[in-house]
């Protein structure tokens, strides 16, 4: 295969990726209420947690962090539940899958879009969380950068895992059972990683004494790498009936 062919295929891949990303964003922009719905419910949870846990207990930093990641898990699960909603509603998934576009672009672009969606929500949830819970420790720049990096890694890991699981199970007759069975055990690793590292970032001992910071960081970087690679490799069999 000569260089020109490789170059043109790569260009076509990038164009297809941008096409799916743009179309996802456009559909999402028209229905902005989806984003606001998730955001408003997250803020409601932020308000409700102090009532449920008690105002004294909620002032402890590990509890505050636990509340944040619990809400972020909710944000990720709801966002992933809608990942191909617009394509299903419009019946456009079959058009994308039968067109000459490389199938992998559909899933990689969806992972990218969902990462942006979850991360954008997390920024606002983070802002409200730090205000409503009076989180002082986060005011240092180093802590803030560390926290935002963890939020991004959480977003990209959840998005890649969610898209792979959705692609594998969506046309199965047992999708209602398969989806949570495959999603939550893997997602637990990400959740434990970000919780443990956010504790470490703020000067607390990590959740597991056996696993140091380096191991959790490795896990958080390896997760999206594995699932993005899987999305790329398994794309031809995704959504097959």
């Amino acid at each position: 295969m000569n260089e020109f062919v490789v170059h043109s295929q790569l260009r076509w891949w990038v164009r297809s990726f941008l096409l799916v990303f743009k179309s996802s964003f456009r559909s999402f922009w028209i229905r902005k209420s989806f984003w606001f719905g998730i955001f408003v419910f997250s803020v409601c949870l932020l308000i409700l947690f102090p009532f449920a846990l008690g105002t004294e207990f909620i002032q402890k930093l590990p509890v505050q962090l636990g509340c944040f990641w619990a809400i972020m898990e909710f944000v990720a699960v709801v966002s992933l539940g809608q990942c191909f909603y617009f394509e299903y509603e419009a019946m456009m998934l079959d058009v994308f899958l039968t067109s000459p576009m490389p199938k992998s672009t559909l899933f990689i672009a969806k992972i990218a879009f969902l990462t942006v969606q979850i991360f954008s929500l997390s920024l606002f949830v983070f802002l409200f969380w730090s205000i409503l819970f009076h989180v002082q420790a986060i005011h240092s720049v180093t802590n803030l950068v560390c926290f935002l990096l963890l939020t991004f890694l959480f977003s990209v890991s959840s998005a890649s895992l969610g898209v792979v699981v959705h692609g594998l199970t969506s046309r199965s007759l047992a999708k209602e059972i398969l989806h949570p069975i495959l999603f939550f055990p893997f997602q637990t690793g990400v959740l434990l990683g970000v919780s443990s590292l956010s504790l470490s970032c703020l000067g607390f001992a990590p959740l597991s004494a056996v696993w140091g910071q380096a191991t959790w960081w490795t896990l958080l970087f390896v997760y999206p790498t594995i699932f993005i690679t899987l999305a790329f490799l398994l794309a031809p069999i995704f959504f097959e009936e």
Binding site: M92, D94, V95, L97, P100, E240, E241
Partner: protein
């Protein structure tokens, strides 16, 4: 261009299509007919690469030594028009048209698109959201997308569903334009006008015990 070898479609214990073989040459048209539930849509989905048959295989390409199981591997562009028109409902007709063409890496001249919209009676709807279109108008829009996309193979499921008499005439006009460009067709339809337009007819379901191969239309009359 496309050939099916001993295809069987099975849902649980129910065998819908059994040991079906046929081939389609470039530029020819094949109508899939048969009663509801005989496997027309399932067969189209298999041909489009959206589903796998229970047994057998579909081969794409003219060179028998270099056939592929996937239309994309053979650089064969295939457009699948489902029974329900596929469009992003909140986006305009032109935006949806652009999306279809971008998926197929094609461009079009806006004047030609305007002419087609005018013929379809959709001139005033070009910039309206697809949500405001009736079922028949959406169907006409899929046909406009098909003619501008100009695929190698068009797989259409009930392409005249929801169309009035003028709509069916418009549909045939589009099909003729595609045929002039050597596009191959496989159409699942209950509409006699569409079936008559096709050069070959493949009966499924109760007819399939009579023959497993594509039969000439004249023979269909006897069946």
């Amino acid at each position: 261009m496309i050939s099916c070898e001993s295809i069987s479609i099975q849902f649980g214990s129910e065998v819908v299509v059994e040991n079906l073989s046929f081939s389609l040459q470039k530029g020819s048209s094949l109508a899939l007919i048969g009663p509801n539930g005989c496997g027309k849509t399932s067969l189209l989905k298999i041909l489009a690469g959206l589903a796998r048959p229970s047994h057998g295989q579909v081969l794409y390409g003219t060179d028998t030594k270099n056939n592929h199981e996937n239309p994309l591997q053979k650089n064969l562009s295939c457009l699948y028009l489902s029974a329900l028109p596929a469009f992003f409902l909140d986006q305009s007709c032109l935006e949806n048209l652009n999306l279809y063409l971008s998926c197929y890496n094609k461009t079009y001249h806006i004047d030609y698109a305007r002419e087609l919209f005018s013929k379809a009676g959709l001139s005033k709807k070009m910039n309206s959201p697809v949500r405001t279109l009736s079922t028949g108008q959406k169907r006409k829009l899929t046909l406009i997308c098909a003619v501008l996309t100009l695929p190698d193979l068009l797989l259409a499921d009930e392409p005249s569903l929801g169309l009035d008499k003028n709509g069916v005439t418009f549909c045939l006009e589009i099909f003729n334009k595609l045929k002039e460009n050597n596009v191959s067709f496989i159409i699942a339809s209950h509409d006699d006008v569409i079936v008559k337009w096709c050069s070959d007819v493949l009966p499924l379901g109760s007819f399939s015990s009579q023959t497993r191969n594509a039969v000439p239309k004249k023979l269909m009359a006897i069946l």
